[in-house]
């Protein structure tokens, strides 16, 4: 078991290395290949109306004049051991794990990511709870009442949930519940201090994003659960459970649902991992200052260190949550042996 976890962690690190290499290559290697000079790259850091001196200075400070491999090596070194940036007489120390500085705000990338993460985590976890409960229970009921009006209605709603994009459902829900009915606050009302500063506003501002985001996933999970349940209910061991004289409720929850949940667990790991790296559409629709919003603004602003940082964070959360899911798998299904 421990050996398995260690092996998986090593695999995870290699995976992240690969992701960082590819991302780094795209952002720092491709511009060079495309003919951009290091001067032009450095100019992006300096700001408006760069002087030749400032560019030269920045180039040396960030090591942009060095070969790409050396730059990548320095980037990794910064993550592991921290990094010193010499700016004239001042030496700026960026402690490990150092992801560099933003081109735009000159803030450390890591700190910015940590500032933005709570909003994304709040959004993703809250939505996950709603979609798991809503999606799975809808799927179970649909499977048990297959072909009834309930089933058909639920599946049509689920189909629309899967097909409608967040920026549509999100805006419709904002228009209806916020601007017309005035039940919930409008977009951009997420409190800057998050849950610790103002829990009530935090909650109110997240209800619509939670529900909107959960609707999309709940629809998917309802269809998955329904299909899984329909298959499981035909298994021989369900017949055995009935033949034992178990009440139908026990047969459904303890025997059928338990077996149907394993594939859902896998999908859930992927979905949640991806969302924790930033719910781009939801955050931008509702103006939540999370990683997703940061990602969009960084891409628009050509803020390469920030984009690189977000990519790494997303990859880390996907890899990490998948490891947890794989460990859970062994708990859920005794036939799975971790080796």
């Amino acid at each position: 078991m421990l050996a398995y976890i260690i092996r998986r962690l090593i695999g995870a690190v290699l995976m992240l290395l690969l992701v960082s290499l590819v991302t780094f290559g795209i952002f720092f290697g491709l511009p060079k290949l495309a003919g951009q000079t290091t001067d032009q790259l450095a100019a992006a850091y300096v700001g408006k109306a760069p002087t030749a001196e400032a560019i030269q200075d920045t180039k040396e400070r960030l090591g942009l004049d060095k070969p790409i491999v050396v730059q990548y090596g320095n980037y990794l070194k910064g993550i592991v051991a921290g990094k010193d940036y010499k700016a004239g007489p001042v030496t700026d120390h960026c402690p490990a794990p150092c992801l560099g500085y933003s081109y735009r705000s000159s803030q450390p990338v890591l700190q910015t990511l940590l500032d933005r993460a709570p909003a994304t985590v709040s959004l993703a976890l809250g939505a996950a709870v709603i979609w798991l409960i809503g999606g799975i229970s809808t799927g179970v009921i649909s499977a048990l009442r297959r072909g009834t009006l309930w089933d058909r209605t639920a599946m049509i709603i689920a189909l629309s949930g899967v097909s409608l994009p967040i920026y549509f459902t999100g805006l419709v829900s904002l228009a209806l519940f916020s601007y017309t009915l005035k039940i919930f606050p409008g977009g951009g009302s997420y409190p800057p201090a998050g849950i610790t500063g103002d829990p009530v506003t935090w909650f109110q501002s997240l209800v619509l994003p939670w529900v909107t985001l959960a609707f999309l996933y709940a629809a998917m999970y309802a269809r998955l659960t329904r299909a899984g349940m329909l298959e499981t209910m035909n298994e021989d061991y369900i017949r055995t459970a009935r033949a034992k004289g178990l009440p139908e409720k026990t047969v459904v929850t303890k025997h059928a649902l338990r077996a149907s949940l394993t594939p859902i667990l896998t999908i859930f790991g992927l979905d949640l991992g991806l969302l924790l790296g930033g719910a781009v559409l939801t955050e931008n629709t509702f103006g939540i200052p999370g990683l997703g919003q940061l990602a969009i603004s960084s891409i628009n602003g050509g803020d390469l260190p920030m984009v690189l940082g977000i990519t790494l964070i997303t990859a880390t959360s996907i890899v990490g949550i998948n490891l947890i899911v794989d460990l859970l798998y062994a708990v859920v299904d005794p036939r799975v042996r971790l080796s």
Partner: protein, 355 residues
């Protein structure tokens, strides 16, 4: 051996029977898009405690559907069940679902064909037996666990106190079937239905499982329905035999009568297609020509007539008039238009020498 096949006219009287299990005119139909599937179409039989009834027939003859029907395991939404099933003086077809559920596992239990898929893969064998016991007995988990270990020991699982915490996939096929039997017998049921309990097992294990069922039957004095397509199993274990064809009884007799003086061409065919090791190997096995009929379009007259080699001996009676199951000789019923004398002649002159 007493021929206990009863008179058919007890059916549909609605009165409580004297037999422990009395199935009367059981019909189990499945409406489908292609038409009405008559899986069981007017089946009647009786069974007493301590005795074994073997139900034989080809795949799709309605054997398993019958057994699931007795347990009330058909979904009311896609199956229509009619007729009467009396168990210990209680009628089951018209009883409420929850009443039948309470009887399941406690008064009647079932052993399924494939022990590999019949146990839940996520729960230990012990947990599944404990669960079966605790549905019907208000006892603590510790007591139920002790009972589960005792049952596992009784069906011949070594080190039951350790194996009780194993998962089904850690058991071999034979052990799994033993565990299924332990589970089925955990509440001491009076009726045990074994649906091809040895089909998925290899031959040496088959004999052990059959021995086990027989021993346990004597110990518990339960009534056993043995569903199989293996005539050897029936000969070994059963007191009576019910041969099914296309959802109906073709022949119903004491097992010795059915093997030594069968009165239905279908039974002759079954016997002819059974390999025998105790006779000289003279000829190839004699399979029954053709294949079982569709249960949506059952052939007119006798359902067996398209495959019956003697269909011409009776004019067109066999193709137009459905033969009822009648007592041809005392205690021996058959559903066939051929005159008794003719059947004896064919059996003695043509069939028997070839077996």
């Amino acid at each position: 051996m007493t021929g206990t096949a009863p008179a058919a006219d007890t059916a549909d009287t609605g009165e409580a029977p004297t037999a422990f299990l009395d199935v009367r005119d059981l019909r189990i139909h499945f409406p489908t898009d292609d038409g009405l599937v008559k899986s069981v179409d007017g089946l009647s039989f009786q069974l007493e405690r301590g005795r074994t009834l073997g139900i034989v027939g080809e795949s799709g003859s309605g054997k398993s559907v019958t057994s699931l029907g007795i347990l009330g395991l058909h979904n009311k939404r896609n199956a229509s069940v009619s007729g009467e099933i009396w168990l210990n003086g209680k009628e089951l077809v018209n009883a409420s679902q929850s009443e039948v559920r309470r009887l399941r596992g406690r008064d009647m239990a079932m052993i399924f064909q494939d022990p590999l898929s019949a146990m839940h893969p996520f729960y230990t064998v012990g947990k599944q037996i404990i669960e079966a016991y605790r549905v019907h007995n208000d006892v603590s988990k510790q007591v139920a666990r002790k009972h589960a270990i005792e049952m596992l020991g009784r069906v011949g699982i070594p080190k039951p106190d350790k194996r009780v915490d194993d998962y089904p996939h850690q058991f071999s096929g034979g052990m799994r079937q033993r565990a299924m039997i332990a589970m089925a017998l955990s509440c001491d049921p009076e009726l045990l239905i074994a649906d091809e309990p040895t089909t998925a097992l290899d031959v040496t294990v088959q004999a052990q499982i059959l021995d086990l069922i027989r021993d346990l039957q004597q110990e518990f004095n339960s009534a056993v329905i043995m569903i199989t397509h293996d005539l050897g199993v029936v000969a070994e274990l059963s007191d009576d035999i019910l041969v099914m064809y296309a959802g109906r009884a073709a022949e119903y007799a004491a097992v010795e009568d059915a093997f030594h003086a069968p009165l239905h061409p279908y039974t002759w065919g079954l016997l002819g297609s059974m390999p025998r090791l105790d006779r000289e190997r003279t000829e190839r096995l004699q399979p029954i020509e053709g294949s079982p009929p569709s249960l949506i379009n059952v052939p007119s007259g006798c359902a067996f007539h398209p495959r019956c080699p003697y269909v011409d001996l009776n004019g067109d009676k066999c193709t137009t008039e459905r033969p009822e199951l009648v007592e041809v000789v005392p205690g021996h019923k058959a559903a066939c238009h051929l005159p008794l004398e003719k059947k004896r002649e064919i059996w003695n002159d043509e069939i028997r020498p070839k077996l």
